[in-house]
Symmetry: C2
Subunit: 172 residues, 2 copies
């Protein structure tokens, strides 16, 4: 499927509702992280908020503005730990919702043309990428983390399912 | 994590909202199936409805009632194709919501004791399983299919993300 702005924004708009629908009513046993390396849903939502603030729109802005230095700012994969400290999951779900709305508003305000979507920025690791590729990656990143949330939750019932484990690919 | 009825029902209650949040506003390009074998979100929701009708509660009832024959009815993995025919995704999301509510009501009405949770039924393929294991498998099955939905959607942007593909485990 080819990139389209409409379809991209459809997914970007859906993710906060999907995450809230899944996690909003769960107890901490489903959502807490096992460790700083093994993120549960709580840290995943923190990571998604952090990416709204420091990754997607800031990188898109580097491309849209086409300034002297088009290298993206580095993204800190541990950057959300400070952001989530002392907060409840309910607070994080609200923050993600608000941050995502603001991102989508910014994106809509740019009224990007096809020519602008072909403009490039420099990824600090793999070099030149287009705005179109960056914006395609954003919803896929959402889906990757939705998948991570589902997997993290499922594994908590790994022992409880007994012989069904054989049939559940998510537990492999 | 050990099985608990409360935690199990938390996830069972969350899934329809999660699925609706994710899929409710998407165009068919994100949700259609590629083929009868390669299910997109549309067929996954159909499968979840079909399992409400013919799998979880019917099997649990076989155990709860402890009749002469405790072998579970077979579950037809293609059984949803008839159910979804001619329907919109919006209709299926409503049907899943209603069917799941009814399942949870039935479950709550049974007021299951610990002793009942230890009762067994006979899986047609792998033999004796407890009610506790069946009820643990139900939310994990939800999460497996939520993961499948996320994966199926992400793969549609496989080419669009360009060099980011290397970093996105969901596309591997």
């Amino acid at each position: 499927m080819e990139f389209s702005m409409t379809r991209t924004v459809e997914v970007l708009s859906a993710t906060p509702a999907a995450v809230r629908g899944l996690l909003g009513g769960l107890s901490g046993e489903w959502t807490a992280s096992a460790s700083r390396e093994d993120w549960g849903p709580f840290d995943v939502v923190g990571h998604l908020i952090h990416a709204e603030h420091t990754d997607w729109i800031p990188r898109a802005r580097v491309i849209v503005e086409q300034g002297e230095d088009r290298t993206f700012p580095q993204f800190d994969r541990s950057g959300h730990f400070a952001l989530v400290e002392g907060k409840s999951l309910a607070q994080l779900l609200d923050e993600f919702d608000a941050a995502r709305r603001q991102s989508i508003d910014t994106l809509a305000g740019w009224n990007l043309t096809d020519d602008q979507l072909n403009l490039q920025g420099l990824h600090p690791e793999f070099g030149p990428v287009t705005l179109r590729q960056l914006l395609s990656t954003w919803p896929v990143h959402d889906l990757t983390h939705l998948r991570q949330v589902a997997t993290s939750m499922a594994k908590r019932y790994d022992g409880a399912v007994g012989p069904w484990k054989e049939y559940l690919s998510i537990l492999k």
